[in-house]
Symmetry: D2
């Protein structure tokens, strides 16, 4: 690659976990260099962080719209923007950068409803721009390996998928978990959904990405359990997939002892695959003999399309930042290829805006099912 | 105890897994001695097995009704009967022995519907007889320990219970799993239900026994998945308990790699308890600090009411037969106390006919929910 | 089999863990019936326990020598004796029964030195009697399966064996662990060795039985660690086997958190086998691809010579008593075959007196090595 | 910090695993910026990689001595050098940079013998320079947490430490593991030692760092096991620490199924700590009640001095690169403080040259013990 790409960030100010995580994930492989930012609503904070991060003060913007405009006009303007602001602002910000002709990487959820998502998709298509939605977990080498195993028919036809993502950090009625928790418990900031939007959509995306299954219809029960909560904190979703497979998606925020326990158990006609993102370095593959095989990232068995993302030999553990980094590895390669005129669709190995829209439709269908008394809703 | 109790067995002929298991579980602690039997529909097989087991040939019966009558009249007649025949015959056999005034231990399911169960209960009450339904898994020391922890409020109020019992042995469409599998796949022998009755009721019983929760209503999806099956082999049940807790009960017979994976995850307002019957020697207890504590049978932390059933020091593993043996330890103590006139209700530490009836009502409610299109059914 | 064998027991009085365990293990499969006993030095205690166990009072003996004589003369005399007394008495008691022509099952250690062991072996051979030393752990189905895998060359040539047996129950300097602990810490009762004789010999036996390796020489470090102890409570043994393999055997009694953690890791030129007796229902087999396969008792992969001892399907856990029961299953079959004149050496599938002698020689060599300053001692 | 530090690298050319790992670990947190390099013996390769990494061509050096001289003279010269060349060259390269007045981070082993190490230490002291030896594994947050727990007396006095580092990648006699393996098996490149120097020293360092124990004497058995090998590939070391604790250190390169299995089990008078670097996100802490507590990075229980290195919430896994990054976080802070004149010794939270020298002495003592027939050697 002749030159390192540059990117800008909207959001990710001091103390914002996810913004710093994106920066670290990109830095890890040096796949792009931060060159501009609008990190905070406070211009002072933006400037201070920009200085700390070595940015040209000129490219520390008080306003994201100004940033979009200015960067689009610069000869050395950013190649893509990373949007890591609170959820309700994603749509407007992404729109501004797309209109300015800048590729977008947006944290999930993409927007507050699927109509917004479709509009962004339309806009990206018109402008010929790439759009990544950072569902981090499918970036794990093992997640890609599972996708390849299932595509290759290694466990036969998928029959049922037990998928879940329990967390425990919001178990207490005393608080809503500090800064991170507060907005998630606040309808004004989170919209109509909390747990399902925050982590339930990761479940939906993980199943879709690894199994390739498409949801036909679902029946959701979205409960507000912890006293004082206003939005769902426990979501149970029965799913029927096209082709006849079924599944249960569960997400929860008060499961004491669970940190970030996104876990899939995929049962097929010829075998089973188990995956736990907190043990992201390995998968368990069970064939008809019943023996559970633990296969680790770095082993020869791992398919080349997955293995190529590994940085270290087996046993030298990679983790969450590496998964995020893998998304950016593919995304930046695609951005560079776009610029070089060599891009083809099959190069895409990251979650696109379609995954983001699918997540929004999933939430909308769950809300409808729940509001109607837990009835089946067709997607 | 002045004399060893004696028991008779109906069912449990050559090759019948469950009958032999009951015999071994009772022999383990010597809590009763086999003295009579009607092991098979074939009198020859009954006689042959009786001889092998050292029975008096006179007490090897061709017919269970005759056995009930004859044993009731003998001065040294059996103290209780163990019924381990195919499910559809339980009701008639139990009835015959109750009418003859003999205490009953019956394998689950108790009967084919709850009306039969209620009738048996009525009969047992009239006759002043004890009736155990052998839900083996709640016999584990760790299951009793969990019951005690929850009763004592150690994890606060239970909020949600994720319970499951996947097995894999009936995954193949080529066969129905041999002798054991055949009748489970055959409506004529199994009635309207397969997986849910066979293992789903263990899930219901385990949750009820350990948490003390009572089901208010449920919504069930009972699927026939493996091609060629006629009855359910994958059951997903959403549950609402009295008091507001919720849960999911899942049972499945085609989950390759799962053998006998009855597992409970109980999330409370102050902690979490994890239990896996295949790791029956330990529980995981998580308090608000998030640290997962593995506590083993044999440790001082285990409550006396649970610990008293242990036979061996921690690390000398006990298993499934010991769990069954624990049920019989309590049951035979109660039978002996009945005979000695010292029996009181609080001595009961085994699953009674009420648990059996509850299981049948659970199945009936699930069938109704499923047939009506997965709607809520109140119990 | 035309009749059930009968056995007598020396030791195993009230509160004695190991005697009751032997009785339960034998009762489990009904492979023999207890018919005589000298359970305690106190005739009263023997009589009381005999009554509880349903023995003929005549066959409750005050003295084991009298028991040996009397039982040998009875037409219905016991077929074998089970010796479960404190270690220092094993030799005299076994000798008495062998001289009376009665087969012997003796708890380990066989005797206090290998010379005694050789004498007993000589005597048993002269009398044509069977002699089992109850190394329980090699009775596990999975232990036998590992033996078969290694014999079949499944992991190639064994290169190194990491074997260990840490326990934690004697970690405190405040006590020596109650009744069980007291004699183990007392040279007068235990002889020159504590930890190594009690659990270190299980390590030696487990390695020998599963791998077939014979020790060529060893270097031992036997430490007295807990303040107040008089005998070894931590033993580190470097081992060289005939044929060039090496290994480390470690046993310890103050490893807090370890209950009964006998564990083998066997590294061969083509694969690895892991075994943990506290997870006795499974083995881990790793081939050159590195994938760790968990194979459970009850799976088709298990060799017939091992699988035949299983009582329950996979997932219905068996444990320590079943392992002990497996030893008695083979032993009683051999005793019956002896009586029927059909016995052949290849029927033996239990630890014989040779294993007992080997254990004593192992201890003697370790003591010699340790006393000489941790030097190599050839066996 | 007013400006980002810059560093140079010697070694780490195309395909060299460890050099790229250092670069990624530093980039992750942006704690320094690569500004100069002598990546390969081939000037072409150095230039090409320098270009790829965005270096000024002037600062891509054909010779490390020239680099040391030139960088020392530049106003914007590198703040420290990272030495990641083959082991035998470490001494000369480190010396050159120390003489030029440049701080050094050197991969382990520091040198080929401890005399060289002492000389480098002397030189660093004279020049007032910092010197890190990158024992990566002690950089894990959990390793630091264990250090703090033991210092605080949480498990009482350490009694015995079972430490090990088995790998499997060199199990085959067919090859020596490709490029990585070849030089490790070649005395000309590796010197007198292979496995013990490569991974055995990590064991020594991990025990020393986490427990604070100092080796008094040791007895080593260094075996050449795989046919065709010329240097040790299996090392068993008995250790006595000052104060009376003991331990076993085991390292192995042919343990099929082990990837990078550095593992410590630390048994104290009041508790036990278990650590497995492949599960580096958690520790197991066992107190006198025997319950095994799993505590994860990110939990409140983790001591502040350890927790401060974490980047992500619990459950968002960090791994090997983060551990390396943690070393550089401390090292670069110390370098910056040196420049700012605010440095104090207690700021050091990385392995210094003393750790490197200790590793060399450990290897030398093991070699002596082994050559003399596995006798005790005092350190």
């Amino acid at each position: 690659m002749s030159r390192t790409l540059t990117y800008g960030m909207v959001g990710g100010g001091p103390g914002a976990f996810i913004g710093e995580a994106h920066r670290k994930a990109i830095a890890l492989d040096g796949s792009a260099r931060l060159a501009a930012g609008c990190f905070s609503r406070s211009p002072e904070k933006t400037r201070a962080l920009g200085e700390e991060l070595g940015l040209d003060p000129e490219r520390c913007y008080a306003d994201y719209r100004e940033m979009a405009r200015a960067e689009a006009q610069r000869e050395d303007g950013i190649d893509f923007v990373v949007v890591v602001t609170p959820n309700v602002t994603h749509y407007e910000i992404c729109k501004a950068f797309l209109e300015a002709g800048i590729h977008v990487s947006c944290d999930k959820p993409l927007a507050t409803d699927s109509a917004q998502g479709e509009e962004l998709k339309q806009l990206a298509q018109e402008k010929g721009l790439l759009f990544m939605v950072t569902y981090t977990y499918t970036g794990h080498v093992t997640a890609k390996y599972i996708r390849d195993l299932i595509r290759a028919g290694e466990i036969g036809a998928v029959r049922t998928v037990m998928a879940e993502y329990p967390q425990g950090w919001l178990y207490s009625e005393d608080d809503c978990g500090g800064k991170q928790g507060a907005w998630r418990c606040d309808p004004a900031q989170s919209g109509r959904v909390n747990c399902l939007g925050d982590i339930g959509t990761h479940v939906e995306n993980a199943v879709a990405t690894m199994t390739g299954l498409k949801i036909k219809r679902l029946l959701a029960k979205m409960d507000v359990v912890v006293p004082g909560r206003k939005l769902d904190d426990n979501d149970q979703v029965l799913v029927e997939y096209e082709g006849g497979a079924t599944g249960i998606n569960w997400s929860c925020q008060f499961a004491i002892g669970c940190d970030n326990s996104l876990r899939l158990r995929i049962y097929g006609s010829k075998g089973t695959i188990l995956w736990d993102q907190e043990r992201c370095e390995e998968i368990t593959l069970i064939r008809e003999d019943g023996a559970a095989r633990t296969i680790k990232r770095g082993y020869k068995a791992v398919t080349p399309a997955a293995a190529k993302y590994g940085r270290l030999p087996a046993g030298h553990t990679e983790g969450w930042l590496e998964a995020m980094g893998n998304l950016y590895d593919s995304f930046t390669q695609c951005v560079a290829a776009k610029q070089a005129g060599t891009f083809t669709e099959d190069m895409i190995d990251y979650p696109t805006i379609d995954a983001g829209i699918q997540g929004l439709k999933y939430v909308e269908a769950c809300l409808e099912s729940n509001e109607k008394g837990n009835v089946w809703v067709t997607l």
